[in-house]
């Protein structure tokens, strides 16, 4: 194997790593949106997840405790969005923004004493047999447990939506809550589940950043990944398969950007850092121009008014 191939493979492997947190968050937001709720607070839930994951791992020494804490805290934060939008009929856009502001503030505030402290976190391990597949093994099967777990999510997501009774109900709540209600379901209750699950996954996405991507806590470690996830849901036309593609596309750009910086490329770092955001605009533009917005759940962002 020559140098270039090795470099390429390592960049591709890094792509999977950088893409994984975005994948978790994207699938989470997609789940929430399929239930009809727009939660723009992904960035906030992610960073809270990143911090609580770090903290729980730091305290218990067990990264799985960190993942659980991240999911629960991300989900818990998302419930604020539920309270505002499902109970109090608040505007979903503004509530999501507020959640982001709050989440960033919370993580930063609570995390200040821990900045720069390292923790154990997840370690990469090669999956027996699979890791030995040439090329693919190196790219996909020499990572940590959270990456492997993320491989299972998109198919599970699809199965849930297309093949289970709660999945059917969730879609109905997102497409036509009145129809769901007429069928004897409670769209509001379904949306609570959608919101919490989305927050839970966003939290795990954050946990990946502090437990696997790095093994420490720093302020602002999500740096816009939550927003990228929101954009990717649109890019993916609300389908999990395309979300994988989108997440790894961004993972690739981030990996490449890091690699170029490490190699001392002659580009100012601020321009390099712009790449993912500029790419987000381009990607969203491409899918909007193709009429991507039409794939949105019909009742997305529309509150269910209380019956009189």
């Amino acid at each position: 194997m020559d140098m270039d191939t090795a470099l390429l493979l390592s960049i591709l492997a890094a792509t999977v790593q950088s893409g994984t947190p975005i994948l978790y968050a994207t699938l989470g937001e997609m789940f929430t949106e399929r239930s009809g709720v727009l939660n723009l607070g992904v960035e906030g839930m992610m960073i809270v997840g990143a911090f609580t994951a770090f903290l729980a791992t730091h305290l218990t020494g067990n990264p799985w405790a960190g993942v659980l804490a991240a999911g629960l805290c991300g989900g818990g934060l998302s419930l604020l969005h539920g309270i505002v939008c499902l109970i109090f009929q608040g505007n979903q856009v503004v509530s999501g923004l507020a959640l982001t502001i709050l989440g960033l503030g919370l993580a930063d505030f609570l995390g200040t004493p821990y900045v720069g402290i390292t923790t154990t976190g997840f370690q990469a391990f090669a999956v027996p047999v699979l890791a030995d597949i040439p090329v693919l093994g190196t790219i996909f099967f020499r990572h940590d447990a959270l990456v492997y777990l993320s491989y299972l999510l998109p198919p599970l997501f699809w199965l849930f939506m297309a093949r289970t009774r709660p999945g059917l109900a969730l879609r109905a709540a997102g497409e036509h809550p009145a129809a769901a209600s007429a069928a004897g379901l409670s769209p509001v209750r379904i949306r609570w589940c959608g919101i919490f699950t989305g927050g839970f996954l966003a939290g795990i996405g954050g946990a990946y950043l502090s437990l696997a991507y790095t093994h420490l806590w720093t302020n602002n470690m999500t740096s816009g990944r939550g927003w990228i996830a929101v954009a990717l849901v649109i890019f993916a036309f609300w389908r999990p398969g395309r979300a994988v593609f989108g997440a790894y596309l961004f993972g690739g750009v981030m990996a490449l950007q890091l690699r170029l910086q490490a190699m001392g490329a002659n580009l100012p770092s601020s321009l390099m850092l712009m790449l993912p955001y500029a790419l987000t605009v381009l990607v969203l533009l491409a899918s909007s121009a193709r009429g991507g917005g039409r794939a949105a759940p019909a009742a997305l962002g529309v509150n269910i008014e209380p019956e009189e």
Binding site: R163, R165, L168, A169, R171, E175, A182
Partner: protein, 525 residues
Amino acid sequence: MSDTPHTPTAVAPEPPRRAREAHAHLPPVVRLEGICKSFGKVRANHDITLDIRPGCIKALLGENGAGKSTLMSILAGKLRQDSGSILVDGAPTLFASPRDALRAGIGMVYQHFMLVDSMTVAENVLLGQSPDMVLRPARMRDEVAALAERYGLVVDPAARVGGLSMGERQRVEILKLLYRDSRVLILDEPTAVLTPRETDQLFEAMWRMADQGKALVFISHKLQEVLTVADEIAILRRGEVVDQFSEADVPNQTVLANRMVGRDVVLQVDAKRLTPVDTVLSVEHLFGPGLDDVSLTVRRGEIVAIAGVAGNGQKELVEAICGLTRPASGEVRILGRPWREFFAGPPGRRGLAYIPEDRQGLATCRQLDLVDNFLLTTRNLFAKGMFLDRTEATNAVKRVVWEYNVQPGDIAASARALSGGNLQKLVIGREFFRKPEVIVAENPTQGLDISATEEVWGRLLEARSSAGVLLVTGDLNEALELADRIAVMYRGRFMDVFDKDDTAKVEAIGLMMAGVRPGEPETEA
């Protein structure tokens, strides 16, 4: 699909109702007793008592606003009655929500379907019904197909609802109810969205359901359909049951029509005729969603009324004429100018005025004060360069408020302080302020009391001297009192356009509204 041509009124030959006798003397599944319901001051239902029997199709006949839908929404648990009771199998029952009614075996097919477009037929039918955690698409399809087969409701269970015709969607709605073994099925104006062929298929399915012991309620204002399909008929007028007929004593169409419309003249105006002059509005071969080759001219000096039951394309026609939706094909010319050119800029003087039915949501902004509401369509008249002359506008509003007697006349109050009638007077005052030469008025007196109605009518008649008026109305009396010519609209087309003095045709308006051309044979009951 059959190749036989169908007239809009085509009625399938009645198949034998084998099982009818089997259910003849069963006690009612549901009995409504003394149901009353008011919305604010409007009395929608008053002391209604009604039996619904198994194996029997009961028609609720009445004009728009007679209270049919309200009554059935109460039965379906969507609305709650103010007083009176619902007896299911003889026991008084309280429905807190549609879910309760469904559980009691009572289901309703609303005019607006409750279906998820992006899901398949089978998924819609089984939504909230599937007993299993894991869905098996093949089995779901088979189940739904079997059910559809049993009642003759042909629809592909694997198709996405978004791609289905209205008729097919309606079948899915019915299948949803049948799947949960509903005993009472309420169909609210089910034929409004159907083609003649689909109507026939629906009727056959209804008979089949009745034969299998279901109780059906058929809400309609279409005489012929009611006579064709129903076993029992109840006529509602202004919220009360005015007549009930059982199978044995159903009268003929004319008697039924008179009972339904009850043409009691509440108001008469002295509409002297003017000599119509130049054409101000012409519509030629207009096609589009809900419109099927509509042609029409309106001349200065006349009122042309479009009579018809709501939902037969009037809304679409008005929106195209008034610049809200671009005509799909065909030509609309206003004051001699083509549509595109006429609607390029903001509304101006001597143009077109649109008085919409939805005064609160479309013609005005509830939160804004009277001056701002006035400026909505007159802003161009008060523009001085980029500025608006608010002083002049305020004076104009004061004048209009006085002239049109808008109460309360506080022009700084928000529009929601005005009652429906006063809001309408403001809208008319505003629109007439521009001295329009084409006026489109859509049910201008709906919801107004008698004095306000009289005033609005007077204004419209007065406006004829300088404008052509297109009056869209569901109120036959209004059309007859005001119009010089009447067009009857049915399923996106004009059945006929005729002069008000053509008494033979005027007599037949009721039938034409139901899709029957005079001279065609009446169907026997």
